[in-house]
Symmetry: C2
Subunit: 202 residues, 2 copies
């Protein structure tokens, strides 16, 4: 067996994942084969299988990697923006990623097709709901939203509303109108949060 | 070839569709075969294929039938309730059907899996959005909501918000909390519509 240099091996793995994301975002789980990924990454079936046991393994890596990215739960705004400003930034940023980031689009499609994938994918939404809940408590403490609001419940509804907006936008306009729909959603959501100065965020 | 009486033939077709809906709602398109539908409907592969050319044909009939049912676009409240009352009734009724009506649940799952199904399914959402838009115009004329609201845009957002709520509820609680989440959603949506007396609808 040929021993590959670590750097080359990492580069090959990244190339496989990048090609897989494009195909999975476009064709979905059932429409994407290891052979196709090998062809599109200009590697070879053997090399793909050297890096990933199975197609489901590739799916899991793509979903996990999208979930750990900046717009999502864990990373966003830890040191930069806070409270309601961070909530709004997070929703805009996730919407942008849903539209423009092929790795995130692949992850969203795979999460949608989770029934077909024989591995346990991370539970969606819960991390983001928890993060928005924490930010809404900051917003309440700062006096930026209605006092006494149920932060976790409002966070659940923001994520639900967001998900529905991106879904309908996806089905009816291939997400072309998503930025506009997200701004409309934010304007409505800021009202229901009892935001003191909604125009500051729009 | 045995000539079957019409009544018996209709009954068999219904039995096949009922069994197919249960399996499709539970296992999805890829997980349901003609052989399984034949087994569960206690008919036989030949009889299933006598009634339906292909599995995709069964999917299409189930989706079309769900779309033409009472809670959806065309039928709701034509003669009974009007305006904002009908909007609220429609959202509650569709939510109930998403949770409790196996034919609707099968249709929702098939719409979600449309990528896998080699027929053109009806475009989702648009009929319901149009119907809610018309009802919101009635509500505006009756002075029940903010004057000058953009009825079609608000209808788009109601359907989007609804879809997201049922999705998150489905993924995180198997739709157990759906009725409660829908009431929370309605309370928030009535505020953004500038409803004059929201408590009348809750």
């Amino acid at each position: 067996m040929v021993v590959r240099s670590d750097a080359r091996s990492v580069e090959t793995r990244e190339r496989i994942l990048a090609a897989a994301a494009i195909e999975l975002a476009d064709r979905g789980y059932a429409g994407t084969s290891i052979a196709l990924i090998a062809e599109k990454s200009a590697t070879g079936k053997g090399l793909v299988q050297y890096h990933f046991k199975a197609k489901s393994d590739i799916a899991l890596v793509i979903v996990r990697s999208a979930f750990s990215q900046a717009p999502f739960a864990n990373v966003l705004g830890v040191d930069t923006v806070h409270g309601l400003e961070a909530v709004v930034a997070s929703i805009r940023s996730v919407a942008g990623a849903f539209r423009d980031d092929v790795q995130v689009r692949a992850a969203v499609r795979l999460m949608r097709e989770y029934h077909l994938i024989p591995v346990t994918l991370p539970t969606p939404y819960v991390g983001w709901i928890a993060r928005i809940g924490a930010l809404l408590r900051e917003a309440e403490a700062a006096g930026d939203v209605r006092q006494g609001l149920d932060a976790d419940r409002e966070a659940w509804h923001l994520v639900g509303y967001f998900y529905g907006v991106q879904e309908i936008s996806n089905r009816l306009s291939a997400r072309e109108d998503l930025p506009e729909r997200i701004e409309e959603m934010l304007a409505r959501a800021l009202v229901t949060l009892g935001t003191v100065a909604p125009e500051r965020y729009l």
